[in-house]
Amino acid sequence: MRLLLCPALLALTACGGNWSNADLEFAAALPSKRELASQLPTSGATSQPLSRRDGLNAGDPSQAYADTKKAVTDFNGLLDFFLGVLDTVRAQPPTSRTADSRTWGPFSAADVPGLQFRVTITLTSTDPRETYGWNVQARKNGEPDFFDLVRGSFQASAETVRRGMGMIVVPVKGVKTKLTLDAQLQQLDEIIIGYQTATFPQATQMAFTFTPGNTSGLSQAGYGSERREDGSGAMVFALSTTDTNIRKSTVRSRWLKDGAGASQLTVDEGTYRGATRVECWNAQFKVTWFKENWPGGKESGREADCPPVN
């Protein structure tokens, strides 16, 4: 009996797992919400009401900061919506591997019944640099073919596959033919996100192409985000208000690592079309200088108290 134990143990020669350096390379090539997100400093002090009110003066809570923060929140929320699945998938080992690809799934999501999802990333070229194509696909249960929910491409930097330049496309128009989307997405035909993380300032642009005849009346809109190595950043976004003088405007905000920043609003639509309003705030998100250049516009504080944003 004892002599039988040895061959029995020797028969147990199995090995396996998900220990893979190549998996890390593929995972690093997928866009990360964290790396593309805009990073506007916040603090408890910003919890105070930031609604627009007349008579804004130096020392008041900054409305421009509040508008910027809302834009950043919306921007990051959209990234989360489209890239969250990638972050979830990347944190799991791939389901299957080939020399040039990794695939996760098909898998089901508890909050999206009736659908199966699959994520695939493929190394499409190594000359002159590693270039990857990837897609997030879905299919209805029982159907054989997958369709794209999100697709993208990425070209690595010369130094590392963790940095580079990429593009993400959300083919909303095609998806609408397969799935029932919510009212906001129904107004869109396509969302394109471009990004580059190879060098600072890193940048992410998000462009929306609206369906002709949509209720918003827009044809295109977008965000632009910028991140610098020193922690400062910028955001460009469109703003719509009920103020008939500045119904639609473009806002270019910049901020330092400590949160102090400045914002310039250019009126695109409204009585003051073409006019600008500049607002600076400090690290406590209080107005340090405020100036409207249209007739009767206000000015408060000193321009010298603006933070050194470029």
Partner: protein
């Protein structure tokens, strides 16, 4: 403890057996026809083939008996053949050679005798020598028809009493012979270690089978009931019988009863060993207290037991230093004696010192546990080095320090063969970098390694115990990245390897072990790669020895 056979018992045995045995042995010391040329064939085999479990001490038994017969039994080393773990053909070939020599000796007018000894398995009517078999009846017939004047066959094997179930069988404490006979005996005497329905038992405590151990001890002089300095066949058997039954009385397998049979003509007793002729050993003077003495060699093995009565006794020991132990009801008397070549040392009992039972140099019946099956446990500290590029240069697994423990059963598969189980935990921090990843992705690494080893230990009784073996390990490796966006990665593999090392005994139970292992490691996720690892460790071991 054994006692000398009472005179009444001897007489009863004589009445019972005397009629049969009156002509049963050849006369000593002056047999007709001049000196006797003594041949001996000693066979020991631990393996019994299919359906049997390896024995631990059969070859040791044969080796011990060979040493006794050559040293004290009047058998020259040329005429004593020792076969260890050999097959049936080898036994028959050796027997044929001795028979040829016996015929030549007889042709020259010499008297001849053959001592055949077997220790090993017997099953289904055959001696089991490894994968080969030797039918008992054919062995018996071969011995019965042998050319020597006298044949003594000793079978130490399970159910060996089957050999004596026919003519002359006796499961009895002793047989008596006439010591004043003048007519030399001719024929065959068979001694078996157990009855036909009994197992022959080995003991880890004595490192031998009970029967062979007591027979060998008796031949050294312990069995010399007459006190004439010679151990006769009847004395040796009586001693071995009594001691074997006593030793096994409380065993799980039950008492074991040696047997004997005879087919003899003539009379006179056969002297198997002469413990005074060599004039080398330990003399127990008449004034030495009566009682049981144990003689323990430097390895811790009890080589002889002596139940001393009134009068002088002699134990023929080979040169060396021995511990003498006498057991009293409330204490021990312990001391050392040195036996010098060619000299008889007289025991000075007064030089022995009192000792508590807890300080018994040998536990239990006073015998070595070095070769017994026993456990040891160890605490381990070691370093595992992977045969691969550094992980920051594309390598897969990092090297890491490890701590753990292991348990070992020594002598599990036979003398020297140990079986061990071990478990270790290792940890490290590292970073994985490939040409594509660029800068390293840092992680925390952990490793659980469990395994089992079969190893052989040399010189178990010594201070330095080298060992070598094979191991099958199961490694469970895990790395968790500091960047939470990467998944935890793991790899599990069975890996065969070899191990080697050296134990240094620091005390009876504690030892310090230096050990190395080399293992093969198969990686098969991204690609199939043959890797390996080496481990170098220090162990602090503790042996649980009775």
């Amino acid at each position: 403890m054994s006692r000398p056979l009472p005179a009444k018992r001897r007489r009863a045995g004589l009445l019972l057996l005397g009629g049969l045995l009156a002509s049963s042995v050849w006369a000593q010391p002056a047999p007709p026809g001049g000196p006797t040329r003594r041949f001996a064939l000693l066979v020991g085999n631990n393996q019994g083939g299919d359906g049997t479990r390896p024995l631990l001490y059969a070859t040791d038994d044969a080796r011990r008996m060979h040493e006794v017969l050559v040293r004290l039994g009047g058998t020259s080393s040329q005429d004593a053949m020792l076969l260890l773990d050999e097959g049936a053909d080898d036994v028959l070939t050796a027997l044929g050679e001795l028979e040829r020599r016996a015929r030549d000796a007889r042709a020259r007018g010499e008297r001849t005798s053959l001592f055949f000894y077997y220790s090993g398995h017997a099953k289904d009517g055959a001696l089991r020598l490894g994968a080969t078999k030797l039918p008992l009846e054919s062995v018996k017939a071969r011995l019965a028809q042998g050319p020597t004047d006298m044949r003594v066959a000793v079978f130490d094997a399970c159910r060996s009493g089957a050999l004596t179930r026919t003519k002359g069988v006796r499961k009895a404490p002793a047989f008596e012979v006439e010591t004043d006979a003048t007519r030399a005996a001719k024929g065959l005497v068979i001694l078996t270690s157990s009855a036909s329905d009994e197992d022959s038992q080995e003991s880890d405590q004595i490192g031998a089978s009970y029967f062979s151990y007591h027979l060998a001890s008796g031949l050294l002089g312990s069995a010399d009931q007459s006190g004439d300095g010679r151990v006769s066949l009847s004395e040796a058997y009586a001693y071995a019988y009594e001691r074997t039954v006593a030793s096994t009385a409380d065993s799980a397998a039950g008492p074991q009863h040696p047997t004997f049979s005879f087919d003899l003509a003539g009379n006179g007793d056969l002297v198997l060993t002469d413990v005074v002729q060599r004039r080398e050993g330990l003399r127990f003077p008449p004034e030495a207290p009566v009682g049981t003495y144990f003689l323990i060699d430097r390895r811790g093995v009890v080589v002889a037991e002596l139940v001393k009565a009134d009068g002088e006794r002699m134990i023929a020991l080979s040169p060396g230093t021995y511990t003498v132990k006498r057991r009293l009801p409330d204490r021990l008397r312990v001391g050392e004696v040195r036996i010098t070549e060619g000299q008889v040392t007289t025991l000075d009992e007064g030089a022995l010192k009192n000792a508590r039972f807890a300080d018994d140099p040998v536990k239990g019946t006073g015998l070595s546990t070095v070769y017994s099956r026993h456990w040891s446990v160890s605490a381990t500290g070691q370093y595992q080095a992977i045969f691969d590029s550094p992980t920051t240069a594309g390598g897969l697994f990092p090297s890491a320090p490890m701590v753990g423990g292991e348990g070992t059963v020594h002598n599990f598969f036979g003398r020297g063969f140990a079986w061990s189980f071990d478990a270790q935990y290792g940890w490290a921090t590292g970073g994985v970098a490939t040409p594509r990843l660029g800068t390293a992705i840092t992680y925390r690494y952990s490793l659980v390694n469990v395994g089992t080893s079969l190893l052989y230990e040399w010189n178990q009784e010594g201070t330095w115990v080298p060992f070598l073996g094979a191991r099958l390990g199961l490694s469970l490796m895990n790395r968790e990245f500091d960047d939470p966006s990467f998944p935890r990665q793991g790899f599990t593999t069975m890996s065969p390897g070899v191990l080697f090392g050296l134990k240094v005994r620091m005390s009876r139970s504690f030892g310090l072990v230096g050990r190395g292992r080399v293992h093969y490691l198969l990686y098969n996720v991204d690609e199939t790669r043959s890797l390996g690892y080496a481990e170098f460790g220090l162990l602090l071991s503790y042996e649980f020895r009775d």
